[in-house]
Symmetry: D2
Subunit: 357 residues, 4 copies
């Protein structure tokens, strides 16, 4: 008999439900007797004992459903070791509920922040298996995260929509794509959407180079230019600032996001009207695409296998086309970046895409 | 023999190409000999003689293509009678090109602004047939405009995406939907997306009623609330301002759009975090949906029939499920609003949707 | 207090759930106390007392879900008055359960067959309100049925997919589209998908005219031809047969469907390879589109209003852009056809589409 | 200066245009002067000198377009060495046109059959670079082919549509998915679509095991069963036949495809009505998904790099997440199968999916 707790933490994304369904199907089909507990709204549910028992029917029909049936929330890692406003020790409280429910393990689905806390719980002696969830694909230890490809689909569709309108009006259009501090999502969406310029955090941009690229297109007869700006895009000058200085600069900015600042600069330098579109949260919504459904189901199945074998302290990841287990301490606190000399960036440049660098 | 000029004017939308293809197929299949001229970027092309000859192959494969193959621009009606920066008389110049190319007629696709100028040209003696294009569905004289249903599709999809993320995070989400000064698009998208609250220009809102509706949902156990805000939504107080006063208020506002102001108010009154999504231009992008493709093709075919019969000075519209011709002077300068007591608003209220009124 | 039974009957389609949700929201928001019963699998559930109580939470989140949460089945009208294999009188049994559960009324969602039985139950004294469900749009008494527009979307998408492959291979492709014995669905999908030839039941085809149209396209330089064949398409010769003779002919045919017979004839007459695609059941699957979600919700809301007023014996339909109530006896047993001289057929011909007539 | 010929051969698929655009953009952006020739309809164009010169504008806007702008056809390898009906030596004729146009190389996009001929041309001394196109993903030497992921999307969507209707009617549904003689496409689509049973060529099925799986689902309370049948699925008995015997059996079968035979067997053994859906050619149609657009663009860019370096005789493939060049002689004549003990099959079984083995 296995008593298994589930929680989903951090920003929601596509295929969280598909991944949990995978774990559950794998456990239930093994013949082992399973008791399941779902904690609500991420670590909050574990801290405050907010949970309910789950059965197999809770996972029926959720392969295609976006979001998470358990709810989620962000509890920043740096606050985890601090007591809450009533003086409750959060880590002790999570351990309390774990032991009180006599859990054999916790299945935790999340991204970077989530993995720091998951690793802490593992170090505190709890049995933990994690699954790599994020539209940003910035988790260390895995080539791919679920949610990523579905988010690329939606971001690409947004660029497609903008393409027809940009073409009709002959304008410069900026589409701001998520991806946190890394460029995987904006780069892939930009390439898929046929963007002319893509600005990503890994290659700080020079606004003059961006303007040159726009002008070059005009000279060659193009009516319009589509620029994909990563939400984490940064200029060469700003990249020289300290982290603290840059944060202060952003907080003091009059622009709602970096895209608007870039738009203003281009408008000033070219005299052209620049339109900004920020698809925002829709990039993490909706049904997972076929890639993510298969991928998340496979990871979930293998997480089930680890639980059945009693192998804990791992994230189930994907390396070189194989599903692997990665020690949590290797994952926690690291960030997977896109190397500035990555083949895909080189190829994007071969295709004529400017990175403004 | 007929010599026909085409131009698309105003904001682009879906099915502009489908509509033009309809006209051309109808003309060409009639057996009549046709010469076709496409003016680029709306009235600008006609003013400055910027055009090219078109043939049937230009219209092949464009049924499904968004945007407009001719390009478009906005030339506000109030500037049409003013000379341009070089002293050119725009109206005379349009007439000049019309006569110089020995056109039998102009086919003009556009919305409200476009129709004022189209009517002026008609009054000046040019033969004009127009087609009703706008995602806002606010054109007088027709029950439906093409672009509208496709925009409802995209706006609905946006709300669907937000639904999964709102549900996962238990938040109040605002989705700002286009529609200019009328509520057709936000109302239909809101109903299709299962919005809980819909704020449209036709029913000015009371922010306290909006907050009440959010709280009522919370009491009934709902984790989240989705609010669709029309880009033209207005509060009861602001609705009392003169047009000029309200314009000044908007221009002086620190918020990028009405949604952000409403979000701030709700946040202040409820203490809840409110997220805003503004899909913006994507609502006019992409391939037309099946409804708009059929509808625009039908209107185009009938416009062709009018040209063949030499009946000019009309918009081809749709009334009571029949395609009709509507005199341009009846269309120009009017706005079709949604009546506050329209059946669809009553039904939306029966479904439990709050309008904040 | 109102005790309301629900059942969905006949082939499933999109927006059945949306429509039921509309009724329930409208009832529950009225303040009236409501008890709800769902009968499973159409009339079978009512005949055999197979039901469960429903509450408002059963209708949460189903606006976008395809199919029907109650299940459905076809119980042909001609068998309704016959006893079942155990001698049970079906009509009496339905009345038995209606009275046993002390229902105030039945809400029945269905198409042509369904309405015959619904009318019978109404004549037997039960309180009945119906909603017009069918992808075929062939229900008498309403301009539109829900499911139709969503099915047009899917059928159109299928034709779009075939378009790229037909273009690449330079082939004649037949796409067989549903629609039962009427042409609304194939005609609209064909026009939206840019089909070159559309064969519908209302205009029996002459295979030589079909071949002429293919050859004409070839002469004009077209590489491929797309033919939409209604599942109920019929040749001019077969149209002369009696209903019985034609039925026997179909049953004795070596072809799985009319499309294959037409393909064989074209292949024989032209020497060209003809490919057939039959999307089949997928046309009734998936999430309803935005049009159907709004439309079904509105009809549902008005059905709720009738129930609250105690007005029974009606289908809630849509005529001249207004939601209306139509006496069941007017609906039952009739078929709404597309008139061969309908404006939309005339316009399709103006666009150069051949009907093979 | 480089003179480059292009041809697309075999069944069309998504992202052929995206891949060619990638090659062209990469060549043109290199600064090298490029002359481009497009051969129509695959090897036929090269055999009969049916081509036209291409320029960069031919590749504008085709990233998202399905099919191939050059057209395609199947010329079976075994007929390549035979003279045509007029006695023309096909191989010599292809060489003739290659030299006559003073080509530096041929870019050939295709699947298994295509690569045999491409290798032959390479052995005959022509400079050849190929790109791996097939929805089947069965090309040796590459982990992935373009077209595959887009086809998985469409096949999955089909299963999603069937899911709602299967659920509503409580039926056994078979969906026949393409994939030629390998299981990649049906397996991935089946997992993404939540199929209960998946029959693929790599694991011959026992019809009794299939029936057992259906009955087990029924016992556990499931209303319906979805079976994905690969177009190349084979029973354990048939797998014992010689290739020739099996081919004869198929040709003599009264069923249009294997799915119908399986349906008949299940129907006979269970008494349940079994519905069959064959999406067919739509699986290779439509716009490429975001994955394929990026993937094909990257492969195209690297093919351009090979041409610029004058490295010929290679297919540009993808191995262990890197784009690689694979000697044509290694690719030609081999088939990439899914190993029956592949991790993904094991995981599918862990998820409870039956393979009928």
């Amino acid at each position: 008999m296995k008593r298994v707790g589930f929680l989903t933490s951090g920003g929601d994304c596509q295929a969280l439900n598909a991944a949990m369904r995978g774990v559950v199907k794998s456990l239930v089909n093994s013949g082992e007797q399973i008791e399941m507990f779902g904690f609500f709204d991420g670590y909050k549910g574990l801290i405050y004992g907010n949970y309910r028992m789950l059965d197999i029917s809770d996972f029926s029909g959720i392969l295609t459903r976006g979001g998470t049936i358990l709810g989620t929330s962000r509890v920043p890692f740096k606050t985890i070791k601090e007591p809450d406003e009533n003086g409750l020790d959060k880590v002790e409280s999570m351990k309390h509920w774990y032991y009180k429910l006599r859990l054999d393990c916790l299945v935790i689905l999340g991204g970077n922040g989530t993995h720091k806390t998951a690793n802490l719980l593992s170090e505190e002696g709890l049995n933990v298996v994690t699954l790599p969830k994020t539209i940003d694909n910035d988790l260390w230890g895995t080539d791919m995260t679920f949610g990523f490809q579905s988010a690329v689909d939606i971001a690409t569709q947004t660029i497609d929509y903008i393409h027809t309108t940009a073409d009709s009006h002959g304008r410069v259009f900026i589409v701001e794509i998520m991806g946190h501090k890394v460029g995987f999502l904006p780069l892939n969406a930009g390439m898929a959407g046929g963007a002319d310029i893509i600005l990503i955090p890994e290659t700080p941009y020079d606004i003059n180079k961006v303007v040159d690229a726009i002008n070059l297109r005009k000279e060659r007869g193009a009516k319009f230019t589509i620029i994909v700006v990563a939400e984490g895009a940064i200029s060469k000058e700003d990249a020289k600032l300290s982290k603290k200085e840059y944060k202060e600069k952003l907080e003091g900015s009059k622009y709602p996001s970096v895209s608007y600042e870039i738009a203003a600069k281009i408008q000033k330098k070219t005299g052209k009207e620049v339109r900004v579109t920020v698809p925002g949260h829709i990039q993490r919504g909706g049904s997972p695409d076929s890639y993510d459904r298969v991928f998340a189901s496979r990871l979930g199945a293998e997480a089930g296998a680890l639980i059945l074998k009693g192998e804990y302290g791992f994230m189930v990841g994907y390396k070189n086309r194989e599903i692997v287990k990665v020690p949590l301490q290797d994952v926690a606190g690291k960030l997977k970046m896109l190397a500035p000399d990555a083949a895909i960036i080189k190829e994007a440049k071969m295709l004529g895409i400017s990175f403004g660098d």
